[in-house]
C-alpha cells in the first residue's frame, strides 16, 4: 500500500499538524540535549548547597533495612535539623521511637566550623551520652546502610572537584555528574570513601544520586534520592532515600513524612542537655 505524503490533499488539517509536530520532535530529539550552563564542579555543588539551604526542619522518619538474606528491620524516629545562625552548618537530632529496644536513643550531630562533625549518642539504658569518634562516623547509623556522616550535610569546602563536570541525561532532565574527592584525610575517614560521584539535577540542583568508591575505585555504596519535598521557592529536602550497600548487598530505605520546613525549631533542641532528656 502506498502512503501519501503529508502535504497531499488526502491529509486533513489536524493530521497534517500532528505529522509536523512528530517530525519536529524527531528532528529536535536527534540533536544533543539542551546544553546546561557551563559550570565547574565546585559551582554546581555551591548551587546545590543553596538549593538545600533551609532554616530548620522537622519530620517523622522510617528507616527500613533489608539484609542480603532478606531479613527486614524497621526503625522509626523523629528528625530535627536547624541551620546555625552564623553559618551554613547544621545541627541534627534524631530520636528513636521504635522498635522498643532502641526507644529513646538519640543521635546528635553537630557540624563544626572547622569542618569536623561531633556525633553524640544517648543510650537510655545507661542514661549516658557517648561520643562517636571521627573514625566511626562512617560506621552504620543504627544498624542501617546509612552512616552518621550521611545524616549530616556535606560541605563544598570539604572536597576537591573536577573543573568540568560531565553532563548526563537523567530521566527527562539534564544532570551534572560531579566527582568529589575528599580534600583532607579526616574528611576521607569521615565519609568512608576515596571519592564520590554525585549526580546533580541541572534543574533543581538537588543531588539525585551519590556513588561512593573505595581506593581501588570499586563502588561500595549508592544513595538515590527518589523524592523531594519543596520547602520554599527553589529549596528542597530529599524525603525518600534508597541506600544500596554494594559490599554487603543490603538495602536501606529512609522515608520522611510530615515534613515541616522553616517552622521555627528551637536551638535548645540541639543541646546535650536535651539529648539526655528524652
Amino acid at each position: 500500500m502506498r502512503i501519501a505524503p503529508f502535504w497531499s490533499p488526502q491529509f486533513q488539517l489536524s493530521e497534517r499538524l500532528s505529522a509536523v509536530l512528530l517530525l519536529s520532535y524527531l528532528v529536535l530529539s536527534s540533536y544533543p540535549a539542551r546544553a546546561l550552563p557551563k559550570m565547574t564542579g565546585k559551582e554546581v555543588m555551591e548551587r546545590h548547597e543553596k538549593a538545600r539551604l533551609f532554616e530548620d526542619i522537622f519530620a517523622n522518619a522510617s528507616l527500613r533495612t533489608v539484609s542480603s538474606e532478606g531479613r527486614t528491620r524497621v526503625k522509626e524516629f523523629r528528625f530535627w535539623r536547624k541551620k546555625s545562625e552564623t553559618s551554613s552548618r547544621y545541627q541534627t537530632l534524631t530520636r528513636f521511637d521504635k522498635p522498643a529496644e532502641v526507644a529513646k536513643e538519640g543521635v546528635l550531630i553537630l557540624e563544626r566550623e572547622d569542618g569536623q562533625n561531633d556525633v553524640l549518642l544517648y543510650l537510655p539504658n545507661f542514661k549516658k551520652i557517648r561520643r562517636v569518634e571521627t573514625q566511626s562516623q562512617n560506621g552504620s547509623f543504627m544498624g542501617s546502610d546509612l552512616s552518621y556522616t550521611d545524616l549530616s550535610t556535606q560541605r563544598v569546602d570539604d572536597f576537591d572537584y573536577e573543573s568540568k563536570p560531565e553532563e548526563k541525561k537523567c530521566g527527562n532532565s539534564d544532570c551534572y555528574l560531579v566527582k568529589l574527592t575528599p580534600a583532607r584525610e579526616e574528611v576521607k575517614v569521615r565519609v568512608g570513601a576515596s571519592f564520590i560521584e554525585c549526580l546533580v539535577s541541572g534543574e533543581t540542583f538537588m543531588v539525585l544520586e551519590n556513588s561512593y568508591f573505595d581506593d581501588s575505585r570499586k563502588l561500595i555504596k549508592k544513595i538515590l534520592s527518589q523524592a523531594f519535598v519543596s520547602l520554599s521557592n527553589r529549596t528542597f529536602f530529599p524525603s525518600d532515600l534508597r541506600v544500596e550497600n554494594k559490599v554487603t548487598g543490603s538495602v536501606t530505605e529512609l522515608k520522611f513524612t510530615s515534613v515541616r520546613g522553616n517552622s521555627g525549631v528551637k536551638s535548645q533542641i540541639f543541646t546535650q542537655q536535651n539529648l539526655a532528656n528524652p
Binding site: P99, E101, Q116, F126, K127, V132, E133, Q268, Q272
Partner: protein, 453 residues
C-alpha cells in the same frame, strides 16, 4: 534435690516472662485498635528478662546461684509542652542461694523510677520523685557516681539493672534560655540509697559464731541526717565536655560495724566528696577522665576500721580497630591518704578489740583498700559485624598487689526484634585474700533472655 526445687520454682518465672513476651508482641501489632491507642496515651512500654546464673568453680560446679525473672513496666508521657512524667515499676521473682544447700524465694515489687519533670522557657528544669542519676563517664568504675547505689547481689549481664536511684529533687539551669553549653545542677536526695555487696560469709565471720546483718536496711529514715546534697557544673561543648561536682551525704557502699559482740551490721558513714570528669575525641580516639576525692567521716573508736579518705581516678581511651572491633583501655588508681591500720583498732575489752580488727580487715578486703595506693586497669574488646545478629565482647578488670581480677566474656544474639539472648561468664581470680580473688566462689556462667516491649 536442691536443683529440682529450683527448677520447679523457676517455672512461674519462665511463664511470667513468656507471657510478657507474648503480650508485648500482641501490643506491637495492634497499633490502630483501642488498646494500642491507650498504650500510646500512657506511653507504656517495658522490659522482661530472665537470668539464670550457675557456679563454675569447684567444688560446686553447675549448682545454681540465682535465677531471676523480672518485668519492668515503663510509662512516659506529657501533660503539656512543659510537664512530663516518667515511671518504671519492677516486679521481680528471685530464687537465690542463701547457704551451702538452701535457697530463698522472694517476690519483690519496687518503684525503680517515678518522677515529674518541668522545663521552663528560661532554661530551668525541675525533676521531683524517685530517679536514677548516674554521674561519671568512665566505663564500669565511676568515682563520681555519688548519687546512686548498686545491688551487687543481683546477678545480671547488664550492670545497669543493679543500679538504684533515690527520692530526690533536681534543679538544673542552663543559661541563655537553655541554649548555653553551661549546665548547673543541684540535687537534694531525701534518703541515701544503699548498695548491697557480694560478700562471702567466710569473710564476715570465719568462725561462724557471729550473726551478720549484711542486708541493707530499707527502713532507713528520710531527710535529716540521711539526706544528701550534690552540685555539679558542666561545660558541654560540642567537641569536649568537662564538669566539676561536690557532694555531701553518705557512703553508698556498706561498711561493717560491730553492733555488739555477737552482731555485725552494715552501716553507711557520712561522706563528702569532690569530683571531676571530662571527655573529648581526637581523630580515631575517644578519651575519658574521671576522678574524685572522697572523705568518709570517721568517728570515735572506728578510725582504724573504716576506709580512709582517698582519691580515685580513671583515665580511659576507646577506639575502633579494623572495621568490626572496638577496644577500650582504662587505667585505674586508688590512693588512700592514710595507711589503713585495722591491726591498731582498740575495743573496750580484748574480745571487742579482736572483733574490731577482724571487721577492719573485712572492710579492707570488701572495699578494696588493703594497699594505700592501688593501680589497676580494665581492658575491653568487642566485635560486631554490621548486619550480624551476634555481638561478642570480653572485659578484663584487675589490680596489682594481689587484689585479683575479673574476666567477663559475653556472647549476645539479637536475631529477633526486641529479643536478646546472652551467655556470659564472670570469672573471679587471683589470691584468695584479694578483694576480687575472694569472690571466686561467685564465679558463674549465666544465660539471659531479655525482651523489650
Amino acid at each position: 534435690m536442691k536443683e529440682s526445687r529450683v527448677s520447679r520454682r523457676s517455672i512461674p518465672l519462665f511463664l511470667v516472662v513468656s507471657l510478657a513476651i507474648v503480650d508485648g508482641s500482641y501490643g506491637q501489632g495492634q497499633s490502630s485498635d483501642e488498646s494500642g491507642s491507650l498504650l500510646k496515651r500512657l506511653g507504656l512500654s517495658g522490659r522482661a528478662y530472665l537470668n539464670t546464673s550457675h557456679r563454675v568453680k569447684e567444688p560446686d560446679v553447675g549448682t545454681p546461684l540465682q535465677t531471676v525473672g523480672s518485668i519492668w513496666v515503663k510509662t512516659d508521657g506529657e501533660f503539656s509542652d512543659r510537664w512530663k512524667w516518667h515511671g518504671v515499676f519492677n516486679w521481680d521473682h528471685f530464687a537465690r542461694e542463701s547457704g551451702a544447700t538452701t535457697y530463698r524465694y522472694k517476690e519483690r515489687r519496687t518503684i525503680r523510677e517515678a518522677y515529674l519533670d518541668y522545663q521552663s522557657v528560661s532554661g530551668f528544669q525541675i525533676q521531683s520523685g524517685k530517679k536514677i542519676i548516674p554521674w561519671g563517664n568512665a566505663d564500669g568504675v565511676n568515682p563520681t557516681d555519688f548519687l546512686t547505689a548498686k545491688d551487687f547481689t543481683l546477678f545480671n549481664q547488664d550492670d545497669e539493672v543493679r543500679r538504684q536511684g533515690a527520692e530526690l529533687v533536681r534543679v538544673a539551669f542552663t543559661p541563655m534560655s537553655g541554649d548555653s553549653p553551661l549546665l548547673f545542677e543541684m540535687i537534694a536526695q531525701a534518703r541515701a540509697p544503699r548498695s548491697r555487696l557480694l560478700t562471702p560469709q567466710s569473710v564476715l565471720s570465719p568462725s561462724g559464731n557471729i550473726s551478720v546483718q549484711n542486708e541493707a536496711d530499707e527502713s532507713a529514715a528520710w531527710f535529716g541526717n540521711q539526706s544528701e546534697l550534690a552540685f555539679k557544673t558542666s561545660y558541654l561543648a560540642s567537641s569536649f565536655d568537662l564538669s566539676v561536682s561536690a557532694f555531701r551525704g553518705r557512703t553508698h557502699l556498706p561498711v561493717l560495724f560491730l553492733e555488739n559482740v555477737t552482731t555485725i551490721r552494715a552501716r553507711y558513714p557520712k561522706l563528702w566528696a569532690l569530683g571531676m570528669e571530662g571527655s573529648f575525641t581526637r581523630d580515631a580516639w575517644v578519651f575519658r577522665l574521671e576522678q574524685a576525692y572522697l572523705h568518709p567521716e570517721s568517728f570515735q573508736g572506728y578510725r582504724e576500721v573504716i576506709q580512709p579518705p582517698h582519691w580515685d581516678a580513671v583515665i580511659g581511651a576507646e577506639r575502633r580497630i579494623y572495621s568490626d572491633f572496638r577496644v577500650q583501655v582504662q587505667m585505674l588508681s586508688r590512693r588512700h591518704f592514710r595507711n589503713p591500720t585495722p591491726a591498731l583498732a582498740q575495743g573496750s575489752n580484748p574480745i571487742e578489740t579482736a572483733l574490731l580488727r577482724q571487721i577492719g580487715s573485712a572492710n579492707e578486703l570488701l572495699l578494696n583498700y588493703r594497699d594505700p595506693w592501688l593501680l589497676g586497669g580494665s581492658f575491653r574488646l568487642s566485635h560486631e559485624v554490621e548486619g550480624s545478629s551476634w555481638t561478642k565482647s570480653a572485659t578484663l578488670l584487675g589490680y596489682h598487689r594481689g587484689v585479683g581480677y575479673l574476666f567477663r566474656p559475653n556472647l549476645t544474639y539479637k536475631g529477633v526484634e526486641n529479643l536478646k539472648i546472652g551467655a556470659a561468664l564472670d570469672l573471679y581470680g587471683g589470691p584468695k585474700d584479694g578483694s576480687l580473688g575472694v569472690l571466686r566462689s561467685f564465679s558463674q556462667a549465666s544465660l539471659q533472655l531479655d525482651y523489650d516491649f
